[in-house]
Amino acid sequence: MKHPRPTILLPGPALLGVLLIVCSAVEAGGQERFRRTPPLPDTFRELRLPAIESFPLPNGLTVAVTPRPGSPVMTIQLVILAGESDSPRDTPDVATLTARMIGRGTLELSADNIEREMDAMGGDFSAAVSVDYTVLTFHVLSEYLDRTLALLRPMILQPVFTEQELAVVRRTYFYELMDKRKNPDFVGQRQLLRILFENHPYKTATYAEDVVKYVMVKDVQAFYSRFYRPENAVLIVSGDVEGQAAARKIGQHFASWVRRDFERPSLPALAPNTKERVCFIDHPTSEEFVIFVGNLAMAPTSPDYYPFLVLNQVLGGTMGSRLFMNLRESKGYAYEAFSEAEFFRACGVYWARVKVAPETIHAAVQEVIKEMRALASEKAVPEEIEQAKSFLIGNLPLGLESFEGYSEKLAQVVALGLGAGHWNKVSDNLMLVNREKVLEAAQRYFPPAPVVVIVGNRAWAEQALSDFNLVEIYDSMGALKMTLRKGVEK
């Protein structure tokens, strides 16, 4: 259909004057018109990173290289495809202590020698152990690549585990865990994972500090012998390097690492929590109450992964999300109200985390569950979905900017098998998410009975606890002390 052409009136002098005033950049009130509303964004530039180049060596070790041209700092990471869930059930924490024993002496170098050499190059070394994998990370000045590899080779291939060094490592780790126990967020999250990982190898990663003392040198040696194998490892180099040349250098240093046939144990499936369960952890030094409401989700390789990320963002990703707007801004129940998720090889876990005063504990839990149910029963508003996607796509490069952020995520991509061009596909995958897929994800992963964990000083929470039908009471180590029915001990 054609629209009739409008008549154009040529302005006379008086009208021209009015128009000039209207069209001028400054309003009568004194501010320029462009200040009234936020400007429109420019054309969006997608994240494009060089793909991870992989070079398999004859002994089974994979060298992965990600170039960062012009970077004066280089990161070298050894990813061992075994984590805390691979620790024997009767000696949890072996994976962590083994990783920390790397660098505590070799056949030819003492721990002090290694530290001096690392300091001399301006470098640093850290070990991080997650549920699924171990990452040994070395940041060094680029000019010291050869010298670093010469140090890494004996550290990784010829470590010596002595009782004396293990005692130091055990003690340090024990006090770190003791210190973490002061943090109610840590204690609450650990309890949530314990419940969700019940009867699964992942539970091994959730024990308290009291088990550290049981780990002996023979346990460390056995773990190392079993899992620190070239065919079970990936060596990642990121920095101002050319892939082929870096792989050749690493090949020269690590060729003597002997291959042994090894098959990584498969993991049993996990089932989400389906019955109502409320746990209270008595944490007498807490100033406030932290509530976790969570359950299991999918592994990051699942097709539901991206819809779930958007769903989680709508629920509680930022201060504009539903939890914050409802529990803090509208009801005034909570000081903080967000939702988070973490992903593993076998599953994901999500939780809403809310900080409240004792008198609003019960109401806050009900509101969190109500918000989850609302997302599972009705499609989210299109604007919410678009804002969530916009946040996730825009935020992605921020986590990749620093050496530490980039190397941590790189190791995750490699260890969880997310693919060489993972980051370049994230935006496209998120753009495909729509309201229907988010609703489906909510219906699948927000079941009626999430696990509720509350951490705080029990002395201030007696009234709140009587509002729940059944509450399991734990101490801050995670030991079950009693169960309350309507506030009365069963």
């Binding site: 400007p39 969006f44 530039r45 470098g123 000045l141 504009g320 825009g394 921020l398 900017e401």
Partner: protein, 445 residues
């Protein structure tokens, strides 16, 4: 030329100099990035640097509005003002600044130091105009009203109370600072007890904002995936018409009248374990001292084989916690150490051991290997500090407040790398003197 004179000259220039463009200057300190600097008619200093590795941009607006400008009875005013900057402006509702940035996936933060209040955000580079719109709106039309002032005061007091409860050593740090920097402008804390904050009024805040939150007292630094010409157009659009504000006077110079060492015991607060704060002031500095002191810091504290860490934590085992480093408060550096010990006997031994390490440095030359290690550790941290766009923008904004020309910045790393054993040896007897030394002993419960 001392810093005060340089600062005075800079403020005069800000108010009178026409905008001028300097040629692009290459900044080379391991990273190669070019820096463009110029000034708007209203005195706002602008620093731009292009870095297109990721589709991000970081924007820093730094005001010369730190705690040094607080009068007695006004402790907390600078921090209150920083927080009020999120309470809305003519076109942005309260807390909407945060929401606008978060909707893009961006992140933001702010902090107040002795001489500056820094506001910064990192967001997708196609949203640069949004960041400039937000920053210019609060620079020109911040909403200051009684309700917002009172609400923010309450929030700050509550947050401060929580922080004091969770960080038992925070108060002892504050007390130590008042001995180490006895001048009120240099040594008073960000919030202290909170008593001054409670009494601050809307008029106090308005006065502070009018004096210090003005373009002629600010630096805008932008680093990231930007086009220089287009960015300049945007900056002109949003910032050019903001009135310059008054000339900010020269901040007071520190004055010390300490004759001998100061040794005090913290009586007001009992902490979980005994320990001590130990510090030395370094003032006034001679040419090159800044670089030598930094390398000294690394030699003493950084890495796992540094002198004090090796001696105290690995060999003597007299402390279970040791932390120390160089702190600079507007050209006034000080070495600050906190040691926590299992008992008072250990605390005494630990303190003696630290002082004996200083004595060794006064009489003997440091070996080439030890010096090389300290310099390499410093180099690594220096390069890391410039690794992200935000890091660079903050670095450039801070350098602008020190009136450091880009030519000096570009050779700065080399100056640190040229420090030698004789420099260290010459510095020790000049500064490690009783009149520069302060000890605050901590008693346990």
């Amino acid at each position: 030329m001392n810093k005060a004179v340089r600062f005075l000259m800079a403020t005069v220039l800000i108010a009178t100099a026409p905008p001028r463009l300097r040629p692009q200057e290459a900044f080379s300190s391991g990273w190669n990035f070019a820096v463009h600097q110029y000034r708007l008619n209203n005195g706002l200093r602008v620093i731009l640097s292009e870095d297109s590795r990721l589709p991000l941009v970081s924007v820093v607006v730094a005001y010369g509005a730190g705690t040094i400008w607080e009068q007695r009875g006004q402790i907390g005013l600078a921090f209150l003002m920083e927080n009020l900057m999120f309470q809305g402006s003519e076109n942005v509702s309260p807390l909407q600044h945060l929401n606008f940035i978060q909707k893009t996936g961006g992140e933001l933060n702010a902090n107040t130091t002795l001489d500056k209040a820094l506001f910064y955000e990192t967001l997708p580079s196609n949203q640069l105009a949004l960041a400039l719109w937000l920053e210019s709106d609060r620079m020109r039309s911040l909403s200051i009203n009684r309700q917002a002032v009172e609400r923010t005061k309450m929030d700050l007091l509550e947050t401060h109370r929580r922080r004091l409860a969770s960080e038992p050593y925070l108060e002892s740090y504050s007390v130590f600072d008042t001995y180490l920097y006895p001048d009120f402008p240099y040594g008073h804390p960000l919030l202290g007890t909170g008593e001054d904050l409670k009494n601050l009024t809307e008029a106090d805040v308005r006065g502070f904002a009018a004096n210090y939150y003005v373009p002629s007292n600010a630096v805008l630094a932008i680093v990231g995936d930007i086009q220089i010409a287009k960015t300049k157009e945007l900056i002109a659009r949003y910032f050019d018409s903001i009135p310059p504000g008054n000339i900010v006077p020269t901040p007071p110079l520190p004055r010390f009248e300490q004759r001998g060492e100061v040794v005090r015991t913290l009586k007001e607060i009992l902490l979980p374990t005994p320990g001590f704060h130990l510090g030395y002031r370094f003032y006034p500095l001679q040419t090159g001292d800044k670089y030598t002191l930094k390398i000294l810091e690394y030699l003493l504290f950084r890495g796992k084989t540094s002198r004090l860490y090796s001696r105290i934590m690995k060999n003597d085992l007299t402390a279970y916690y040791l932390n120390g480093g160089l702190e600079e408060r507007r050209g006034l550096p000080a070495l600050k150490i906190l040691a926590l010990n299992n008992n008072e006997v250990m605390a005494g031994r630990c303190q003696k051991a630290i002082l004996s390490e200083f004595d060794k440095l006064k009489v003997g030359l440091v070996s080439d290997d030890e010096l090389e290690t300290a310099k390499n550790l410093f180099k690594m941290d220096y390069l890391r500090r410039l690794s992200t766009g935000l890091d660079r923008a903050l670095f450039l904004a801070e350098a602008a407040f020190e009136n450091m020309p880009t030519s000096v910045l570009s050779s700065e790393l080399d100056r640190y790398m040229k420090v030698n054993a004789q420099n260290l040896n010459g510095l020790m007897p000049r500064f490690f003197l009783p009149q520069n030394k302060v000890v605050l002993n901590i008693k346990n419960k």
